[in-house]
């Protein structure tokens, strides 16, 4: 009753100023063949937190939208939902370009803003004028070590049936698993990148996690 009335805007600006909102993603990526994934999972299970509970599985569906404004570059937005947890909110995510920092940075650093939404976000984006570029289904395992999150996942093409049960007609994109090590942190916490690199060293002979140069990938035929 005697507290000063604070508006939502005040709280929001205070939160932004105090730098607690995680808006940057530190990322390392690698891949393993199907034949080698069991060994990698075993190793991760031993290295990561909570050995007693088994690895957490996830089954997600991601759609990428783009909208072309007045700028030359289209704005890319990603919508992701969990197929195995239907009651969790959908996620709308913006991923920025990786920072063109010095080569000494151990990880990719890019801005990432994600928001929880309801399932009507697709309709909303379509109404705004976004168009879906592509979609895919991801299925795999998640591990956690401290603040770091490690995912080992396989990407599938979305099947023809779009009734909400596309599981039967999924076909994998490749014979390998994608391994990602990521941390979502507020900007300015570069020390975490060193921890990520040393953790990647521990996985070294099984999988090589490294920075991926996206620009080079784009120029490949």
């Amino acid at each position: 009753m005697s507290q000063p009335v604070t508006t939502a805007m005040d709280s929001l600006t205070a939160a932004l100023k105090s730098n607690i909102i995680p808006n940057q993603e530190y990322l390392l990526q690698g891949s393993v063949l199907d034949s080698a994934v069991e060994v990698l999972l075993h190793r991760l299970r031993g290295l990561c937190d909570n050995v007693d509970s088994g690895p957490e599985t996830f089954h997600d569906h991601e759609m990428c939208f783009s909208i072309r404004g007045t700028n030359l570059q289209p704005l890319l937005l990603r919508v992701r939902r969990a197929l195995d947890y239907q009651d969790m909110p959908w996620q709308l995510r913006y991923i920025g370009q990786p920072e063109i920092g010095d080569k000494n940075r151990p990880t990719i650093v890019r801005s990432s803003i994600d928001i929880g939404t309801s399932s009507t976000v697709v309709e909303f984006l379509t109404e705004l004028g976004c168009r879906m570029d592509f979609e895919y289904i991801v299925r795999g395992y998640m591990f956690r070590k401290g603040r770091m999150k490690i995912t080992v996942s396989k990407i599938f093409k979305v099947g023809q049936v779009a009734q909400g049960k596309p599981a039967e007609s999924m076909e994998p994109m490749s014979q390998s698993y994608l391994v990602e090590l990521s941390v979502l942190a507020p900007s300015g916490q570069d020390a975490i990148a060193e921890d990520m690199r040393s953790f990647a060293e521990q996985l070294r002979p099984l999988v090589q996690l490294e920075k991926v140069d996206y620009k080079r990938l784009q120029h490949m035929p």
Binding site: F58, D60, R81, M88, P89, W90, G116, M142, R144
Partner: protein, 649 residues
């Protein structure tokens, strides 16, 4: 010295080789004829004779070069014995041999030149006959070789084993490394420069306590083994044996973690102990100060001390921070909290290091809920640890790790500020344990009330069934009120939910009543229910007996005001209608029954009321002396009354 001599005397000295030539003959006149020394060519010839052309070719080449030069110079020489060919001069064999060699070399050079051209001659492998291999022979040969190697290795292994056994037999204490292996299987160790440091804290399990639990592992000094006690089996880890077992390694725990600690929870009612829960995780009394106690026991005791300290520290912090209606007190090693008015919860940390003689507190009485509250405390702290490590995973997987499901849904579901604040609130350990203690007392009181009533009231039987499954803060009891012998006629059921500070009673007819922690309220309620049961049971009985039910009232407004509850009554008529029974029940004064007869027995037509028919209006009610009535219980008495009043006509 000789130089000086030379300068003094200056004598010329000449040096010449002695005559080595052999004397060939001495003539009669004393002249010596020396053998003429060999000339250059002759000595060369002599040397050439020594060459063995069948030996290494290097010598040949060297000599060949020299000989070829001299071959043209010499012309005469003495005759020497040749090899298999008699030759005139010693160089003949040499020359022949050289000529042959030259021929052969020329031929070879020509062949090589032609072969190099590959037009007329091609060099090719000579087909070799395949060596006839006899496999069995090979197998046998290999077997023998392997057997030889194996015997050598076995002999070596035997020798090592014998030496190891002897070492183990001579040494009664187990090997340091085996002990270290056992230690490492149970505790986390790491090597820091020269020493081995271990960690016995709960940090990896999620504890955020500041005190570190580091211990050091060292080799025990060699001590002469005390005879008498049987030597322990090597590598034994169990501490069930005699405490005198010495091991090869020694652990040093920090001084503040030595000894044994336990948390004691005591519930006091104003000064006397109601119940207490003494906990000692190790199961034995205060510490044995035996320095030879096995390292496993020592480490477990130290870990227990650390856990108790963390628990007490957390509780003390909360006790100071919480705002309770009656403030909690923290005095030394004890926390005092008020559970219910007049009942206090005392949580104490007792740490005996064994060095100083601490007077044992008065042995607490162990009631039947001995370990429950301490176990709850232990579990609560472990739950805090668990929450610190097990954060929920994000679904979808690209979200941040950390926010709970509620928090994730707060955005899309438009949670307001109040909901968000509620999400951040959580109960402290002290609040939780106080709630559990409160519930414990509520349950105790409810049990007591029900048992007392069941003992006092025999007429309708009070049967209570407690739920087997309950939570630390809520229990349920189902109460049935029925009369012995008439339980199929009518039964009153009610359910009482026992909370932390209140009771909730739900009756069969849908009434819900909330009561506070005073036991008297429950008692009053049960009594009211009993007497209402009687009236309703009578109605049920009347149906069985064929009597008609005329009227009833659960809250009667007639008669004196009842101190407790309201009186209830009912009126019954016999099958043919000639008798009427009226029953009135109340909790304080009990039961009153009166009967009336329909055609009046005492009707006399008078001046005002002339006709006979008015006798059917029924007489006045006469009270029955209920205590003199036959019957085991109220319903039985009612049944007998009804049967006696029923007349078949």
């Amino acid at each position: 010295m000789s130089n000086l001599l030379n300068m003094a005397y200056s004598v010329n000295i000449s040096v010449e080789a002695p005559i080595e030539n052999q004397i060939q003959e001495i003539t009669y006149d004393g002249q010596e004829i020396y053998q003429t020394p060999l000339s250059m060519s002759e000595s060369l010839a002599k040397l050439a004779q020594k060459i063995d052309f069948s030996k290494a070719s290097t010598e040949e080449i060297v000599k060949e070069g020299a000989d070829q030069q001299d071959k043209n110079d010499e012309d005469s020489a003495t005759k020497e014995s040749a090899t298999f060919q008699s030759s005139l001069w010693p160089w003949d064999s040499v020359r022949n041999k050289l000529r042959n060699a030259l021929t052969e070399v020329c031929v070879l050079a020509d062949v090589l030149a032609i072969a190099k051209e590959k037009r007329y001659i091609v060099l090719d492998h000579v087909p070799q006959d395949a060596l006839e291999t006899k496999p069995m022979v090979q197998v046998y040969a290999r077997k023998k070789a392997l057997a030889g190697a194996a015997s050598v290795l076995l002999a070596g292994a035997e020798r090592l084993r014998a030496s190891q056994n002897e070492l183990a037999r001579n040494r009664t204490t187990p090997d340091f490394h085996i002990e270290l292996l056992r230690l490492r299987q149970n505790w986390r160790l790491k090597k820091v420069s020269n020493s081995i440091i271990g960690d016995l804290s709960y940090r990896t399990a999620g504890s955020k306590y500041a005190q570190t639990g580091m211990f050091e592992v060292t080799k025990a000094e060699e001590e002469p083994q005390a005879t008498g006690s049987p030597p322990p089996s090597p590598g034994a880890g169990a501490a069930a044996g005699p405490p005198k077992s010495s091991s090869a390694l020694r652990v040093t725990v920090p001084s503040e973690l030595q000894g044994v600690a336990y948390i004691e929870v005591l519930c006091q009612k104003d000064q006397e102990d109601l119940c207490s829960a003494t906990i000692n995780l190790l199961g034995s009394g205060p510490a044995s100060t035996n320095p030879d106690v096995h390292w496993q026991q020592k480490l477990e005791a130290a870990q227990n001390v650390l856990f108790c300290k963390e628990l007490f520290n957390q509780l003390a912090k909360e006790a100071v921070q919480l705002q309770a209606p009656i403030p909690h007190m923290v005095v030394g090693n004890q926390i005092m909290a008020t559970v219910l008015p007049g009942i206090q919860l005392i949580i104490g940390l007792y740490h005996s290091t064994g060095n100083d003689k601490k007077p044992n507190p008065t042995p607490p009485q162990k009631s039947e809920h001995d370990h429950v509250l301490e176990h709850s405390l232990h579990q609560l702290l472990r739950e805090v640890h668990h929450k610190n490590t097990h954060h929920p995973f994000p679904h979808p997987s690209s979200g941040p790790v950390g926010p709970s499901k509620k928090r994730c849904l707060a955005g899309p579901m438009a949670a307001d500020r109040y909901e968000l604040l509620e999400m951040t609130k959580s109960q402290t350990l002290l609040e939780q344990i106080i709630q559990q203690a409160q519930h414990f007392f509520m349950r105790l009181r409810t049990e007591y009330v029900l048992d007392t009533i069941a003992k006092e009231v025999k007429d309708p039987l009070i049967v209570s069934h407690w739920n087997a499954l309950n939570s630390p803060t809520q229990s349920c009891v189902k109460i049935n009120i029925m009369t012995h012998g008439y339980d199929s006629v009518y039964r009153t059921s009610l359910v009482v939910h026992v909370g932390e500070k209140s009771l909730k009673c739900v009756c069969r007819d849908g009434r819900v009543m909330h009561m506070s922690y005073e036991p008297q309220e429950l008692r009053d309620l049960i009594f009211c229910q009993i007497y209402q049961h009687q009236i309703t049971a009578v109605q049920g009985l009347a149906k069985c007996m064929g009597w008609q039910f005329l009227a009833n009232s659960t809250h009667l407004g007639l008669g004196a005001v009842e101190p407790l509850g309201n009186a209830s009554s009912c009126i019954l008529a016999s099958p043919i209608g000639d008798r009427i029974i009226a029953v009135r029940c109340e909790p304080q004064t009990g039961v009153q029954v009166a009967i009336a007869q329909s055609p009046r027995k005492d009707f006399f037509p008078g001046q005002l009321v002339k006709e006979r028919k008015w006798e059917n209006l029924g007489g006045s009610f006469k009270e029955v002396r209920w205590d003199k009535m036959e019957g085991k219980n109220f319903l039985n008495k009612m049944e007998l009354l009804m049967s006696s009043l029923t007349s078949s006509q």
